[in-house]
């Protein structure tokens, strides 16, 4: 293949791009060209690499100083020189583009049907910092960045055994985004691994900007409230999950790692749990569970009791609620729905606004809703209090925010329209939606057979870490249905 043909083909593809750079050179008398994307690969790095190779060269690859063909130069550089070229064979345009867009420098030689890639990436990326969404007191402060290779190195640094594997591939998308499937060979279930590998290979998302884009292919079942996968931006958490036999999917350009499969109980666990005493972490976990159930059921229970079963409210409290309700124009049920929706609007506005404005918006909204609405007699204090408690409680388990918000509305509507029967039906619906979920044969609810083992070693309460370590947990361990 002539160099000119290759260059013109590449020029047709990338010629219009401002960052495309092609430099013609001559190597051992053979014409060649170096191709890079400016900003992704560094020319300086390439020359440093070449000079270093020349310095270390024990003997030249060719004895005589004559002109050589491209094929001869390729053989010499790949097999008889100290040049640290990539070992992969680049024999077609697709592979060449894959390496080029990964930030490597490509060497094309005249008369040779193969190219050589040099790893001289110099991409700018966000530094490894602490993830803002997953706060911790103890343990690692590192978080994943947007660059896949950096994330892989963060994981490799933590898991230093020979079974840890990272399989990279390109997704069948418009942007040909790279993703990596990480697992421990001795811990992951081979059949499930193969299944996931196949699904990822055949998945055709239009775009792949985050690992969560794969979920509809991995779990294509009907509508569900709870998704049995979890996400983390902490390499330490991802490493711990991999050591439990789980599969982690990382996508280039996103710091969020998808962990598959996940258990419901894991939403109430964090790294700090294992750094503190068993008693204190158990206390915190119980608090988290209580908060989660509060956030779903408190508004519904409040509406149901105040409207349909006032006998269940202590008289003094009931008088206060009734007095507050008498002063407002809307029925309690409608008022509760309105407050919940307004709080959601405030939250969404605070989240999407520029950070400098977000706080002001929240403050103004809180003042107007909280103070002015009560002063104007539009809303009652007990309703705002209940809605505020539930809104704050949901942030204790941020990973369950979506199902908790939807379920809260379902419970309020059911309790408001159908009273105690509606409340119980909503509770049952919640249980069914929770217990009907499973991923890859692993149920979302961990095994809690009644009454033999009511509380597991590391569930709502946990045992001493030394005791836990005696029997390492593996997600694929056998369970009963």
């Amino acid at each position: 293949m002539q160099l000119g043909e290759n260059l013109s083909a590449l020029d047709t593809i990338f010629g219009g791009s401002a960052d495309y750079y092609a430099k013609q050179i001559r190597l051992y008398g053979c014409p060649g060209a170096i191709i890079i994307f400016d900003g992704m690969a560094s020319l300086e790095g390439l020359w440093r690499l070449l000079l270093d190779a020349v310095n270390r060269e024990s003997r030249p690859p060719f004895e005589s100083q004559v002109y050589h063909t491209g094929a001869e130069v390729y053989q010499a550089l790949m097999h008889r020189s100290d040049l640290p070229a990539q070992s992969a064979v680049i024999a077609d345009m697709d592979t060449l583009i894959m390496f080029l867009t990964a930030g490597m420098a490509i060497l094309l030689l005249d008369g040779c049907d193969k190219a050589i890639a040099f790893s001289v990436q110099s991409m700018k990326f966000r530094s490894v910092g602490e993830p803002s969404a997953e706060g911790n007191l103890r343990g690692s402060r590192e978080g994943f960045t947007d660059l896949l290779r950096i994330n892989l190195s963060l994981l490799r640094r933590l898991i230093r055994n020979d079974t840890f594997t990272m399989e990279a591939a390109q997704a069948d998308t418009t942007m040909r985004t790279e993703y990596v499937l990480c697992y421990c060979r001795d811990k992951a279930d081979p059949a499930m691994l193969e299944k996931v590998r196949k699904i990822l290979k055949t998945a055709k998302p239009e775009l792949l900007l985050d690992s969560s884009y794969f979920v509809p292919w991995l779990l294509p079942s009907r509508t569900r409230l709870f998704t049995p996968v979890s996400y983390t931006e902490r390499p330490a958490v991802a490493a711990a999950k991999i050591c439990e036999g789980k599969l982690v999917i990382l996508v280039n350009g996103s710091p969020s790692a998808l962990v598959l499969p996940a258990l419901f109980a894991e939403n109430f666990e964090c790294l700090d749990d294992y750094a503190t005493t068993a008693v204190f972490s158990s206390f915190l976990r119980i608090l988290k569970y209580v908060s989660f159930y509060l956030t779903i059921f408190l508004p519904g229970v409040f509406v149901c009791l105040a409207v349909y079963l006032p006998e269940l409210i202590p008289p003094q409290l009931l008088y206060k609620i009734t007095a507050a309700e008498m002063a407002t124009p809307l029925p309690l049920f409608a008022e509760m729905i309105m407050v919940i929706l307004i709080l959601e609007i405030i939250r969404e506005a605070g989240l999407r606004m520029p950070q400098s404005l977000g706080h002001s918006v929240s403050l103004v909204a809180a003042l107007i809703i909280g103070d002015a609405a009560i002063a104007a007699g539009l809303m009652s204090t007990p309703v705002i209090l209940v809605a505020s408690i539930t809104s704050i409680a949901v942030f204790i388990t941020p990973s369950l925010y979506e199902p908790a918000t939807l379920l809260r509305l379902v419970v309020v509507v059911a309790a408001g329209l159908a009273g105690p029967v509606g409340l119980v039906a909503a509770f049952l619906f919640f249980l069914f939606s929770l217990s009907g979920v499973s991923a890859m044969g692993v149920p979302y609810l961990a095994d809690r057979p009644f009454p033999q083992r009511p509380i597991s070693e590391d569930g709502m309460i946990r045992q001493n870490y030394r005791t836990l370590s005696r029997r390492p947990f593996n997600i694929w361990q056998k369970r009963r249905r």
């Binding site: 079942s221 269940l312 105690p420 029967v421 119980v424 249980l431 009963r480 249905r481």
Partner: protein, 285 residues
Amino acid sequence: MIQSKGFSVSAIGLGLVSVTLAQNFAQLGGTSSARGVILLGLPGALALSAASLLFCAIALRYNLFSAQTWTGRLVSAAFLVWFGVELAGTVLQAQAVCRQQFSSNALIGLLPLLVLLSWRMENHAINYTARILWWVLLVGGIACLLGLGGRMHWQRLFGPEPASLWAAGLPQLRLYPEYFALPLLCTKGKERSGALLPFWCFGIQAGYTLALELVLGRMRSPEYTGIELLRAWGMGYFSRLDALLVLFWLATALFRICFLICCLRLLWREGLGFRPVKTEKEGTA
């Protein structure tokens, strides 16, 4: 990884406990004594358990719940009707309690949703839900016993008794389709534990009657029903805490409705062979 399919014994048992509790709520005063229930109920449970075990062995031997044979289809059809009748009975029972306790007919409106939800539900969802509801029931039971603690007096058990145990009539021995459909419903290998389900019902009935008699003595008037036991419970601050316990029970009653619908679906598909055409889902993990 999940190993087996089918319903767990605790899931089947929860439904039976729920319906037994409902019977106790509705039981009229003066119909039976704690002594009678315990002494006559135990042999009854034993007989039912033996019958259940025997039928289970026959059903497994002759493949009685299989859609392959005409006997299998016949038996399945008979059980389908029995489960249907049981479902209707449970719905009426729950509706009666809702009407009586909460003056609500909402159950009728929610029933189509429950049917739709249960028909699409997988067996393991029922099993996991049952485990959680057992905890709810346990908490309710403990709370009830704590609230009644100071009101129970053993002397009330020794009130004036009828001369003969038979005088007050035999305790009701109810037959449920679950007792005999164990080979179809139970997780494989759990049929023997399933055959003990009559003892679960007996335990609940005996325990409830005993607690009722310890708190209120022998209720002579037929105007009083078993639900008086819940009404006797209180903690001082609330005027009607029994509604809370009825809510707990209602959760198990709705669970039984869903469970029975799942049984009907199972009989329809496995016993009568009306399986839906499977559509291959691409790449399901």
